[in-house]
C-alpha cells in the first residue's frame, strides 16, 4: 500500500485562525507532521508609516497594532517617546494610564479566554459571556475617550482627557461585577472535565524552549518563568501597587488559560488601588507640540499578549528615523510549529487559541 501525507491549508480564511493566519499543515492521518505558518496578510507597513509621522500623529496607528489592547499599545509607544525625549507625564496621567492599561488587559484576557473556549468547541457561549463583560470595559472607554476600539487616548506627555464624572464609579462597579463573573467562568470552564481533557498536557512549552523562542507575557509565565515587566522593570507607577506575578507549572494550554484567568484578578486589584490613590492635577497633554528626536531608545511594556517593545531612533528632526515594533504575538506565534508537531488537528487549534495571538500585531 502507498501512503501519502495530506497537506491541508488552514486559513487565511478559517474559523479559528484568529484573523488572517495561514497555516500549512502536513498531516499523517490526523496527526500534524509539519506546520508552516505564513503571515503577512495584514501587513500595512506601520514601521514605514512611522517614519513619516510625528509622534503625536503616530499614536492612532499604534491602536491598529494589537487592536484588542489598543490602550496598552498607546501607553507603550508614549512611554518610549517620553523616554527618548527625557520627559515624563504628570502623576495623575500616570495613574490614569495604569487604570486604562489594566482595564484593557482585563478586556483582552477575557476575549482570549472566550476565543480559546470557542476553539475548543464550546459553541460561542463562553465567548458571548466574555464579550458581554468586555463590553462594560469598552463602554467605560467610550465615555473616557469617545471610541470603542481605537482609543488614541494616551498622548506623549499625558492623556487626551481627564476622567469624566461618574466614570470612576462605573469602573468600581465593573470591578465588583467582574469578580462575581469570574466565579462563573471558573464553574463553566476551569474545572470542566472536557475542557481539562482537551487542554491539559497539550502543547507543553518548557521554560527553556519558551525563553529560546522569545516567548513573553502570559505564555512565558505559564511555563513557570516568574517574569513580568510591570514587576521586574516597573514603568509608570506600577511599583506603587501590590500585585502578584502569576505563574503556571507545566506550560500546557490549560496553564496558559489559567494564568490569564488569575491575571484578571490581579489586574482588578491594580485598578482598585490606582483608583483609590488617584492624585489631583491636570493630566491632559497638548497635542500640537513639536518634539525633536535625538538618540535612540528601547522601551518595553507588559502587554496582555507579552512584551511590546518600541525601538525608537531619532535623527534630530520631528519624525522618527526608525521605529521597530517588537510585537509579542510575532514571537509567540513562531513557537507554534514546535508545539504542534505530533499533535492532531484539534490540538493544533487548541494550542493556537491558547497562545492568544493577534494578527494586526504580527503583520504590522
Amino acid at each position: 500500500m502507498d501512503f501519502e501525507e495530506l497537506i491541508i491549508n488552514m486559513g487565511p480564511q478559517h474559523p479559528s485562525t484568529h484573523g488572517v493566519l495561514f497555516l500549512q499543515l502536513k498531516l499523517d492521518g490526523e496527526v500534524v507532521v509539519d506546520c508552516q505558518p505564513h503571515i503577512g496578510y495584514l501587513h500595512r507597513s506601520i514601521e514605514k508609516i512611522a517614519e513619516n509621522r510625528t509622534l503625536v500623529q503616530f499614536v492612532p496607528f499604534t491602536d491598529r497594532l494589537d487592536y484588542i489592547a489598543s490602550m496598552n499599545n498607546n501607553v507603550g509607544f508614549c512611554l518610549a517617546a517620553e523616554k527618548l525625549l527625557g520627559i515624563s507625564a504628570p502623576p495623575r496621567a500616570q495613574y490614569l494610564r495604569v487604570i486604562v492599561a489594566e482595564l484593557n488587559r482585563v478586556a483582552s484576557h477575557l476575549l482570549a479566554i472566550g476565543t480559546f473556549a470557542q476553539d475548543l468547541g464550546a459553541y460561542a457561549t463562553p465567548l458571548f459571556y466574555a464579550l458581554r463583560d468586555r463590553e462594560k470595559v469598552v463602554q467605560i472607554f467610550d465615555q473616557l475617550c469617545g471610541q470603542r476600539l481605537t482609543y488614541d487616548y494616551v498622548r506623549v506627555g499625558g492623556v487626551s482627557g481627564d476622567l469624566p464624572p461618574g466614570v470612576d464609579q462605573l469602573i468600581r462597579d465593573f470591578i465588583a461585577y467582574e469578580r462575581r463573573m469570574l466565579a462563573e467562568y471558573h464553574d463553566l470552564l476551569t474545572g470542566n472535565v472536557i475542557f481539562c481533557a482537551r487542554s491539559r498536557n497539550i502543547g507543553v512549552l518548557s521554560k527553556e524552549a519558551a525563553v529560546n523562542y522569545g516567548v513573553t507575557g502570559t505564555n512565558l509565565r505559564a511555563s513557570g518563568v516568574a517574569w513580568d515587566v510591570r514587576k521586574d522593570e516597573p514603568y509608570l507607577v506600577y511599583d506603587k501597587f501590590d500585585f502578584k506575578v502569576i505563574t503556571g507549572q507545566k506550560g500546557d494550554s490549560w496553564d496558559r488559560y489559567d494564568v490569564r484567568m488569575r491575571e484578571i484578578e490581579e489586574s482588578l486589584k491594580i485598578i482598585e488601588q490606582a483608583l483609590g490613590g488617584l492624585p489631583e492635577g491636570d493630566p491632559v497633554a497638548k497635542v500640537n507640540k513639536v518634539f525633536r528626536l535625538t538618540g535612540e531608545t528601547y522601551m518595553r511594556t507588559e502587554n496582555p499578549r507579552g512584551e511590546l517593545g518600541f525601538y525608537l531612533v531619532g535623527d534630530g528632526g520631528p519624525l522618527p528615523y526608525r521605529l521597530k515594533i517588537r510585537a509579542p504575538s510575532f514571537s509567540n506565534l513562531s513557537v507554534l510549529p514546535y508545539l504542534v508537531r505530533g499533535l492532531n488537528i484539534s490540538d493544533t487549534v487548541c494550542v493556537l487559541g491558547s497562545l492568544d495571538i493577534v494578527m494586526g500585531e504580527i503583520d504590522r
Binding site: H14, P15, G121, A122, F128, N192, R198, I345, S346
Partner: protein
C-alpha cells in the same frame, strides 16, 4: 367498498403527514435552538420576522430554497448528489415506527425498535458519501471522523436499548409503551443507567456537542457539509434536526413511558417528553466544549461499552431472579 384502495389512500395520507411533520418539526427545532442559545448567551435571538422571530424559520427556508446550488468542479458528482438523500430518507423512514399515541403510529412493526436503530445507522453512509464526494480535505476528514464515531457509538446504544427490550419482552414500540403502564422504565436503576448511556451515545450518534467532531466548526470549518449549499445543505440541516427528534422520541418511548400520562390526549404527553429531552440536549450543546476524536473513541470503547455490557448482564440476572 374497495378495501385495498382505502389502505393505499391511508398510506399516502400518513406519508404526507409524516413528511409535513418532518419539515415543520425541523423548522421549529431550528427556531427553538436559536432562541435557547440566545437565552443562554444573554442575547435576544431572532426578533424581527413575526412575534419573537417565530416566522424566521419560514424566511430561512425560503432563503435556502432560493440559494444557488454550487457544485464543486472536482466533486465526485454522482456520490455528491446522492449523499443528502442518503442522510434525509432514512430519517424520514424512522418516523414510521414512532408512536405518537396509542393509535397514532404509521406502522407498528413487531421489530419497531430494531427498524429504527438500523435505519438511522444508514445516515452514516450519506455522511461519508458527502465527505468523500465533496473532494475537500476538510469534508473528507469530517466524513471519516463521522464513520468512526457512529460505528463505535452504535454498540453502547444498542446495548442500552437491549436492556429495555429485555425488560419489556418485546421489540414493538407500542409493546414497549404498554409494558410501562405499571411504571416508567427509567425508575428502575438498571434502566436508568441504560437511559444515561443511551442519551450520551445518541448525542454522539447525531453529531451534537460535545460529540460534534465531524462538523467541528473550529477545526474542520463545517466538516462533511462544507461544500453543500442551498437545498442540499438544507437537507442535511433538516435531517440533523429530524434525527434529534428521533433520538429524543425513542428515548421518551423506551425510558419515559412514551405517550403514557395522567390524562388524555396522550400525544401531548409524548411531545412534552420529547421536547423536554430536546431542550435538555440543546442546553448541553450550548454549555460544553467538544471532546477530541481519540478521547471520544476511548470513552465509547473503554467506558460506555463495558458499562452497558455489565448492565445487560445485571438486567438478565435480575430478570432470572424474578423468574
Amino acid at each position: 367498498m374497495n378495501y385495498p384502495w382505502m389502505a393505499l389512500l391511508f398510506l399516502v395520507v400518513k406519508g404526507v403527514c409524516i413528511l409535513a411533520f418532518f419539515a415543520v418539526n425541523a423548522m421549529f427545532l431550528i427556531w427553538l435552538e436559536r432562541k435557547v442559545s440566545a437565552k443562554i448567551q444573554n442575547r435576544l435571538g431572532p426578533m424581527v420576522t413575526g412575534p419573537h422571530g417565530s416566522l424566521q424559520l419560514i424566511a430561512d427556508t425560503v432563503k435556502l430554497l432560493l440559494k444557488e446550488n454550487i457544485v464543486p468542479t472536482e466533486a465526485d458528482r454522482f456520490v455528491w448528489w446522492l449523499a443528502p438523500f442518503f442522510v434525509a430518507v432514512p430519517t424520514v423512514a424512522a418516523f414510521l415506527c414512532i408512536p405518537f399515541s396509542a393509535t397514532w403510529i404509521v406502522s407498528d412493526l413487531n421489530v419497531g425498535i430494531l427498524f429504527i436503530c438500523s435505519i438511522t445507522s444508514l445516515c452514516v453512509l450519506g455522511v461519508f458519501m458527502a465527505g468523500w464526494g465533496s473532494n475537500n480535505k476538510y469534508s473528507l476528514l469530517g466524513g471519516m471522523r463521522s464513520a468512526a464515531q457512529i460505528i463505535s457509538y452504535e454498540v453502547p446504544l444498542l446495548l442500552s436499548v437491549l436492556v429495555v427490550i429485555m425488560e419489556a419482552g418485546t421489540l414493538s414500540m407500542q409493546g414497549i409503551v404498554h409494558a410501562q403502564e405499571v411504571g416508567w422504565f427509567f425508575l428502575k436503576p438498571n434502566v436508568l443507567v441504560a437511559f444515561l448511556i443511551y442519551l450520551i451515545s445518541a448525542t454522539a450518534e447525531v453529531n451534537r456537542v460535545p460529540f460534534d467532531i465531524p462538523e467541528a466548526e473550529s477545526e474542520l470549518v463545517s466538516g462533511y457539509h462544507t461544500e453543500y449549499s442551498g437545498m442540499k445543505f438544507s437537507m442535511f440541516f433538516l435531517a440533523e434536526y429530524a434525527n434529534l427528534f428521533i433520538i429524543s422520541a425513542v428515548a421518551a418511548t423506551l425510558f419515559l413511558g412514551g405517550w403514557l400520562g395522567p390524562w388524555r390526549p396522550s400525544a401531548v404527553w409524548f411531545l412534552l417528553k420529547v421536547y423536554g429531552i430536546i431542550g435538555f440536549l440543546m442546553w448541553v450543546r450550548w454549555t460544553l466544549p467538544r471532546v477530541r476524536m481519540d478521547q471520544m473513541m476511548a470513552f465509547a470503547w473503554k467506558i460506555l461499552t463495558p458499562v452497558s455490557l455489565i448492565n445487560v448482564l445485571v438486567t438478565g440476572w435480575l430478570l432470572v431472579i424474578k423468574g
